[in-house]
Amino acid sequence: MHVDPLEKRWLYVVGGIVAFTIAVQVYYAAAKNIHPPSNVQTIDSAKLHLSKEFAEDKLGVHKNADGSLDVTMVAARYGFYPQEIVVPIDTPVRLRIASLDVLHGLLVPYSNLNLMVVPGYISEGNTTFTKLGEFPMICNEYCGIGHDYMYARVRVVPKNN
C-alpha cells in the first residue's frame, strides 16, 4: 500500500483535530458534569391527571429549601401548562415536563433550555436564567397543524421579588 508523505502529515492533523474535539467534550462531561437531558423515566401519558407529580394542581413553580426551584409542566396540543411561569434571575431551575399526547419540544430563547418531550417519558432539564424579561417558551417539535401556536411565557424577574 502506498502512503504519500503529505497524506501521512494530513492524517496526523486530522487525528489531532478529532482527538482534541473529543477530549473537550469528554472533559466537560466528566469533569464539569455537563450532560444533555437524559433521565430515562417513564410515565403513563394517558394518566397524567392522576399522577402525583403532573396532576393539574401540582403544576407550576415550587421553591426548594436551598432556594433552587422545581418547575413542573405539562405539554399538550397546543400549549404548555401552566401558560406562564415566573422565575427569579440567577436561580438554579430544574424543569420537569411530560406530554399528554404527541411529541413536543421546548426551547427558551436567551437560555440553554432545549428539550424533547416524548409521550411516555418525563423530560428533565436544568438551567439558570441570566437575562431579565419575558421570553417565549416555544414548542420546537412538530406536533400537528396547530403547532405554530404552541408557546408559553417565561418571566424572569429580579431576585428579591
Binding site: M1, H2, D4, L6, E7, L11, V14, G15, I17, V18, T21, I22, Q25, V26, Y28, A29, I34, H35, P36, P37, S38, N39, V40, T42, I43, D44, S45, A46, R77, D101, V102, L103, G105, L107, P109, Y110, N112, N114, L115, M116, V117, V118, P119, G120, Y121, I122, E124, G133, P136, I138, C139, N140, E141, Y142, G144, I145, H147, D148, Y149, Y151
Partner: protein
Amino acid sequence: MSITAEEAGRLSRTQSTTASAISLGNRLGMSNLWVAFMALLLGLPMGLYQVAERSGYFPWLESSHVYFASTSTHGVLMAYVLTTFFMMGYGYHSMAHSLKIKTWSPLFSWVGFYLAVFGTALAALMLLTGKASVMYTFYPPEMANPLFYIGAVLLVVGSWFWCIDMIAGMTQWKKQNPGKPVPLVMFGTTINALLWLWTSAGVAIEALFQLVPVSLGLKETLDPGMARTLFSWTLHAIVYVWLIPAYIAMYTLVPKLAGGKLFSDEFARIAFVMLFIFSVPIGFHHLYMDPQQAAGWKLLHMLGTFMVAVPTFLTGFTVLASLEIASRLRGGKGVFGWMMSVDWKEPMVVAGMLAMFMLTFGGFGGLINASYSLNAMIHNTQWVTGHFHLIFGGTTVIMYLAVAYWVWPKITGRQLFSKAMAVWQLWLWFIGMLVLTLPWHYIGLLWYPRRVSSTPYEHVGVVAQWGIYELMMVVGGAILVVSGLLFIYNLIRTHFNKTAERDLTVSYAEAIHPPLKVPNILNSLTFWNWAMVAYMLISYGYPLLQFFFIGTHGAIPYGI
C-alpha cells in the same frame, strides 16, 4: 498473426455480452435517474413556497395545512426519492461500465425499480392530499394514512433489489478476477449498497412493527421512545448513503474530467470503509435532547460521530490534491492560485470545487451539531435545517447534477445541449444555496424553531430579528428554483440534440499509483459487515432492549 475461428467466436461473444450489459446498465440508469430528477423538479418549488409562506411577507400564501403537507412532501421527495433513485441509477450505470457484467437477472432489477416507483406514487398520493403531513421523519404517535407508510416501505424494499444486484455483481466479478482490486467506483457503490441495507433496517423495523400495525388499527399503542431510537438508527447513516454517490463522483470522475489523476486510490477505499463503519452505530446525536436514552450511551455515540469526520477530512484532502495536480498540469501556480487554473468550463470540475467549498462550511456546522453539549444551542432550530440543506442540497446534490451532465451524453449518445449553461446553472445553484443557507443558520442561532409555518409569538424582541434574514432566504430559494429549471431544460434538450456525442467511452480516473493489489480488507466487505454487527450490538443492543424492561407505557395514535 491469425486467430482461430473458436477464439474469434469467444471474442465476439464477450463483446456482445459486454454490449448487452452496458445497454441494460444504461437503460436502468436512465430510468432511475429520470425518476430522481423529476422528484427534484417537483420538490424545488415546494421549498420556495415554504420559505416564502413562513416568512410572513406573503399573507395570502399562509396556510398551515398546505405548509405541513408541502414540507412533508418536499422532505420525502428530496431526501428519499431523489437520493434513492439517483443512487440506483448511478449504481447500475457504474456497475455495467466498470465491471462490464449484467445484473444477475434483468427482470429482478426492473421489478425492484417498478416496486420503488409504485411505492413512491402511493406515498406521494397520500402526501399531496394532506393525509400524511407527519414530516419525512414520521413522528409517531402522530399517524398518517397507512398507505403512506406502505408506500414508503415499498420504496425501500424496491431499493433493496438494487442493493442485492450491486453486492451480487461485485461478488461475481471478484470470482472471475481473483486477486484483482475491484474498480474503485464499484467498491464505493457496493459498500453504499451494503450500508443502505444496514441503514434502512432501523426504519423498516419501526414501520413493520409500529407504524403500519398501529395505523391499520391492528395494534392499539406504540412506544414513541422506541420509535425514535429505531429512527435514529436510520437517520444519520442515511445522509452518508446520500453522500457516498457524490464522493464516488469526486474520486472517480472529478480528477479525470479535470485532466489529472486521482491522488490516492487506497485512501479513497479507506474513506469508504470508514464512512460505512462509523455511520450507522452513531445515530444518538439525533437524540441528545431526548429523555428515553441515558447520557452514557449518548456519549458513546458522540465518539463515533466525531470519527465519521475523518473520512470526510480524507476525501477533502484527496479530491483537492487531485484537482491541484490537474491544475498544475495546466500551468496553475501558487499555494492557492492554482484554484484559478482548474478547468472552470467543465461542469464536473466546477461542481467539485463548489462542493468542496460548501463541504468546508457544512462540515464545520456538523461538528457543532455533533457536540454533546453545544447541541443544546441549536437543537430543532432553523440552524439544523440550514445545515442539512447546505451539506445535502449543496455539496451532495451539486455532484448529482454534475454526474447527470456527464452521464446524459454517454447514455443518449447526444452531446450535452449546452455546456456553458450547465456551468452557469451550477454556479447559480451554489450562489442560491449560500444565499439560502447562511441566513438560515443564523436565524437558528437566534432561536427560530424549525418545522413551523409561522411565528405568531407575542415576543416582538425575539421575533423581529428574524425578518430580514427570511427575506434573504426567499431570494436564495428563488435562485435555486431557476437553477433547477435550467438543469431540467438542459437535460430535456440533450435528448433532442441533433449533434452526436463524440466520446461515448466511459472511463474513470486513474490513480497516480494504480493499485495492482490492495489488502483484502480494502477489497472485500465481509470483515466490515461483521465489524458492523459487533459495533451495532454494542451501540444499539442495550438501548433497544431497555424498552422491554423499563416499564414503558404505549402512546395512543393521534391524527394530525
